[in-house]
Point group: C2
């Protein structure tokens, strides 16, 4: 397990950490572009805190609050144009994975001219705007990764820009912004983080460090699942207290550190089709597939599966499947043609080579069938 390690983002944690650490923004420049979605950053107080922090240290800002779920390439170009027009020095992204991933692409495109056809090719100049990130969901891990995942209509999927340039300079983790997330969003994002940690342990790039972080992250998420089931029953996010919100935010950040080292596996590759073609939420898409993949691993490499299951205090992949089944509820419909098409797409991705247990196209079809049969 002699894989490399790199994650240079400074992570600041705790209640009111954005305002308390306003001096950190000064290092990044004198004018910022705030990249966010249309609503949630306004509702959960994060945008207000960022503005308070910026104003207290005399930093000017412009707001680009047009980032949609699963942001498109054109959204990134639009934000970059605004950044260039206004001569901003740095980017502040606030929100879930969508504003953060868009923020990274904007930081890159504002610092150098890249044609759309070269955007995913990776040979960038060593130039990017500095970034400060404020995640307001606990799942994506984007706040500590080098990936920006954009909806790519030409390729009919989500495609990653992966570059060390895209690590944010600083990330602020304050669980209070996640307190009012609804039950479904809380569960889906937590499952996304769980999937990152588990997939990290299933990656050929797994290392001693990534495994240690993944194991801790998995334990922390599984530890919150009884409360998730209660919240589902009660139909209210009030089941989660601030301590669990903090635990989920930290677990998600750690799982982000994991995939920054390992990348993701076939689970993400398959899930992208479910999101692109069927509009299934990203975390949910991973959750639908994760247990089935672990079952495949259990057959091919029982020791590897057992190592992961042990972190959940489970003996069999079937137990994870059961838990995910309860958390995910009623499945969507999927037909044979869709399964065939999605499997063909997923088997061609680089994610397959990243798997310790490499599935065949047949395996992918079986996984899709099983995932939606519940």
């Amino acid at each position: 397990m002699t894989n490399n390690y790199y994650m240079p983002t400074k992570v600041i944690m705790g209640d009111d950490c954005v305002v308390k650490n306003c001096e950190l923004f000064k290092v990044l420049g004198r004018k910022a572009l705030i990249v966010t979605g249309t609503q949630s950053a306004k509702r959960n107080g994060s945008e207000k805190d960022v503005k308070t922090a910026l104003e207290s240290v005399g930093i000017q800002y412009q707001v680009f609050d047009k980032v949609m779920s699963n942001p498109t390439i054109s959204c990134a170009y639009e934000g970059a144009s605004l950044a260039k027009e206004n001569g901003v020095d740095f980017i502040i992204a606030i929100g879930g994975g969508s504003p953060m991933d868009a923020g990274k692409a904007i930081a890159l495109l504002a610092a150098q001219d890249i044609e759309e056809e070269s955007l995913f090719l990776g040979n960038y100049q060593n130039k990017v705007l500095p970034m400060a990130f404020v995640p307001t969901t606990a799942g994506t891990g984007s706040e500590v990764t080098q990936y920006s995942i954009l909806t790519n209509d030409k390729a009919q999927t989500k495609t990653s820009i992966a570059s060390d340039l895209l690590f944010p300079t600083v990330t602020f983790l304050d669980a209070k912004y996640t307190v009012h997330l609804g039950v479904t969003t809380t569960i889906n994002t937590a499952i996304d983080a769980l999937s990152h940690a588990v997939e990290g342990m299933l990656s050929v790039k797994a290392s001693i460090v990534s495994d240690a972080l993944a194991a801790a992250s998995i334990q922390m998420i599984i530890d919150c699942t009884p409360k998730m089931l209660l919240a589902l029953q009660a139909g209210s996010e009030a089941a989660f207290d601030l301590e669990q919100r903090e635990q989920l935010l930290q677990a998600s950040f750690m799982a982000g550190m994991v995939i920054a080292q390992t990348g993701t596996t076939v689970v993400h590759a398959m899930g992208y089709s479910l999101t692109y073609f069927k509009g299934i939420d990203h975390g949910r898409a991973n959750g639908l597939l994760l247990g089935e993949y672990l079952k495949l691993v259990e057959k091919a490499q029982p020791d590897l599966a057992a190592k992961i299951l042990k972190t959940m205090s489970f003996a069999k992949a079937e137990q994870l499947l059961e838990l995910l089944g309860k958390l995910l509820g009623q499945r969507e419909e999927i037909n044979a043609e869709e399964i065939k098409f999605y499997s063909k797409k997923a088997i061609q991705t680089k994610n397959i080579a990243n798997c310790i247990v490499k599935p065949t196209e047949d395996d992918l079809r079986t996984m899709f069938v099983q995932s939606f049969a519940k």
Copy 2:
């Protein structure tokens, strides 16, 4: 546990990683100062590999191979003068903690003028030469920390320069340079790493991330202790195979990541006197004190001690004391006056405030007495 996280060093691992990744040196500049000790880097092949890598990418270099054990302030100034005279762009440190700690101070002093009396005050300009590190022992963790620890004759102790400027840019971990380390050095450095990981879990700055890394690191080191006892019996380092060398190097790097977040505790503060006044090796000094401190913690906060002992598969601090007793063998002599003096020094350090369980000066005296009574 909402403590911050930061460790920006890129860590490259594996057999021949220095030569295989020679391109990474090019990013750092065109002329390097190699900082190392007088002998070991020449014997273990690391200096040769670094030179081969530099020559293959056309980087000029100068060698400063005068770093002694527990390097002095004047050694750092001497290296910095050489760096400035030769207009080097970056520093390469090769060796154990001594050349690495000296290398950091040299990188700082070559980039800015700092008077000796201001050296430990911390208000530096934002300037430092980039650094590439090649550790050749498995203990110090300096390759991934922001600390440079120098022998400070005015203060009659070892004193830290602590600054985020001092994180190396890149670190190369190749266990083959550690293969010929003697039994005593192997054990002392491993105990140093163990102490870092344990002290990290005993620090008020412990976080979810540092605890996860510490637990993994402790497990890996304890897992190698049966081989250490065999090596002691056999009087030969041949008892360790490359796999254990790799495991110890990785555990040491992870323990370094831990103290980069947490700092050290009273164990290091007390140990510095043993090294400064009695010439006891740094890792051994920590080992002499670590078990006694954990016993104190066990009384004051049994749950905290149990959490740490669990990573060792131990139930009682006494078991760690026994193991360390076997590894450390015959103790040095220490008299009552020395104990009084060292305790007074240690209780005044910042390390005390960094302990979750804060010892009194009396506690320190008792720890010294017990440590040397074996």
